[in-house]
């Protein structure tokens, strides 16, 4: 039997989310969500709008502070403490920043820095956060720009690019941080229909490369195609989860049946 040298036989847990709760005012948006992602997993989170998908994703890197619950990246828990108001707050700003740097986020609205060119957007994180030399960052950025097919646009500003191009830059910007896990927040929802495919292609390629990804999406076809695991969120709870084929073919709950039926 051949032993793969570069891969551990036991898949390591890249991301672990434990019992996340989040309320906005009186409305409890997340009612205790837990899931794990092993290295190389692609997990898609689906559900109707208002089910808490985006909030869940934003809780993972504390863009939205979870009221309670635990997030661990590659085994390291984001340290928090409980304050007098009964909610938890991050305890160690420095650690939180390091953990965020390991969670590459791609937003629905791209959120590229408008005053920086494509290249500058991509090297900003490596230079400012990871403290790489500019030279090294540029050399790497070139690889990632090539990967997402944006090399010709390297000196252009975001306003000069189409939505699809901007989102590909955003993906390259996340990749440049060498993240442990990539978080996609509806990466194709803000795109014109004819631009969706160029972004989907890039995401598909990342899945083939076995990058660990958590993706909130409405693209059911894509979710089914690339996901190793599907999570169906409803009213702040995980209603159903499993391999995409099983889930889509034989939905157990009425909710999911209704939801899948729409597509």
């Amino acid at each position: 039997m051949k032993i793969k040298e570069n891969h551990k036989t036991v898949p390591e847990t890249a991301l672990s989310v434990r019992n996340i709760h989040k309320s906005f005012g009186d409305e409890e948006v997340l009612k205790g969500i837990s899931f794990d992602a092993n290295s190389g997993d692609v997990i898609s989170i689906i559900g109707s709008s208002g089910s808490g998908k985006s909030t869940l994703l934003r809780c993972i890197n504390f863009l939205e502070r979870p009221d309670s619950g635990e997030v661990a990246v590659a085994g390291e828990v984001i340290r928090t403490h409980r304050a007098k108001d009964g909610l938890q707050y991050p305890s160690d700003k420095h650690q939180l920043k390091q953990m965020r740097a390991r969670l590459g986020m791609v937003f629905q609205n791209f959120n590229l820095w408008a005053h920086r060119t494509v290249l500058e957007n991509i090297i900003e994180g490596p230079v400012q956060v990871l403290k790489h030399s500019r030279k090294k960052a540029v050399a790497e950025a070139e690889i990632f720009m090539d990967k997402v097919g944006i090399t010709q646009k390297r000196d252009q500003y975001p306003s000069q690019l189409s939505g699809g191009q901007q989102q590909r830059v955003a993906i390259a910007r996340a990749l440049a941080m060498h993240p442990t896990v990539m978080l996609f927040d509806e990466p194709t929802s803000a795109l014109d229909p004819e631009l969706v495919s160029e972004v989907v292609q890039v995401i598909r390629q990342l899945a083939v490369e076995k990058r660990t990804m958590i993706m909130v999406t409405h693209e059911m076809a894509l979710a089914r195609e690339i996901s190793s695991h599907l999570i169906f969120l409803h009213n702040g709870r995980i209603e159903e989860q499993g391999p995409p084929d099983v889930i889509m073919e034989n939905p157990k709950s009425d909710r999911l049946r209704q939801f899948v039926g729409k597509f």
């Binding site: 890197n61 863009l63 700003k93 920043k97 390091q98 965020r100 740097a101 969670l103 986020m105 937003f107 609205n109 791209f110 959120n111 590229l112 820095w113 408008a114 005053h115 920086r116 060119t117 900003e124 994180g125 400012q128 956060v129 500003y157 975001p158 306003s159 000069q160 690019l161 189409s162 955003a170 910007r173 941080m177």
Partner: protein, 234 residues
């Protein structure tokens, strides 16, 4: 008539010699105003009442009273008080003996209040998504401020900052009332000595006008370079 124009022209060299002082006042107060204005804007936007309240009051008062009143209060007020204090014997004293320092203080404070108000609005209008992207990539709050929020805010309000500088340039004429012999002060001195009323004033106006044109033309390429990221096809 020709005599009149000749008179106007004849005062130009003397006035041009006073122009560097006007420019120095503008430059120093402009830079101080921008630095303190930025700090004021940040204090104003702070969650802490200890910071935002005093900043708010300062900007409100400075913007609500005439510069000339501020100038007099600082020159005659501070100028009265300071000699009786430790300042009289400190290294600062040589600078605080003439009107120039008081002029710079008053102009800077005034400029800071105006710049602060403009910047406050600009900082608040930085798109939230770009700040989130910075936080998500692991930047410190200081990095988010210096790498994203301030650069975008400055670019956003650059045209207003430029026009504030030009207003400042023309406001420096007021400091002639506290013995500073800049452009306007020199023109008034010429008036007294030559007993001509209009000629020195017209010459002085021409010089201001020329300086404004030069200043505008310096700022235009800077503005267009800093805001080229906006010129897109979307």
């Amino acid at each position: 008539m020709i005599q009149f124009f000749n008179n106007v022209v004849s005062w130009l060299p003397e006035l041009l010699a006073a122009t560097p002082l006007t420019l120095t006042l503008t430059l120093v107060a402009g830079i101080c105003g921008l630095v303190f204005g930025t700090l004021l804007a940040l204090a104003r936007l702070s969650d802490s009442l200890v910071l935002s309240m005093p900043a708010g009051i300062f900007m409100f008062v400075m913007r609500g009273t005439p510069l000339l009143v501020q100038l007099y209060l600082i020159y005659y007020g501070l100028g009265q008080i300071l000699p009786g204090t430790w300042v009289r014997h400190s290294f600062l004293w040589p600078y605080l003996r003439d009107g120039f320092s008081y002029a710079v203080i008053a102009l800077s404070m005034n400029q800071a209040a105006y710049n602060g108000e403009v910047l406050r609005g600009a900082i608040r209008s930085v798109p939230k998504g770009q700040i989130e992207a910075s936080v998500a990539i692991g930047m410190t709050s200081f990095q988010v401020l210096t790498r994203v929020r301030l650069p975008l805010a400055f670019r956003d309000c650059l045209p207003v900052l430029t026009s504030d500088i030009i207003i400042l340039l023309k406001s420096t004429a007021l400091v002639s009332t506290i013995t500073v012999l800049e452009l306007m002060g020199t023109a008034r001195m010429i008036q007294r000595e030559s007993l001509q009323i209009y000629e020195p004033l017209i010459a002085c106006g021409l010089v201001y006008f020329a300086v404004v044109i030069v200043l505008t033309n310096i700022m235009r390429p800077i503005e267009s370079r800093l805001t080229r990221f906006r010129r897109g096809n979307t």
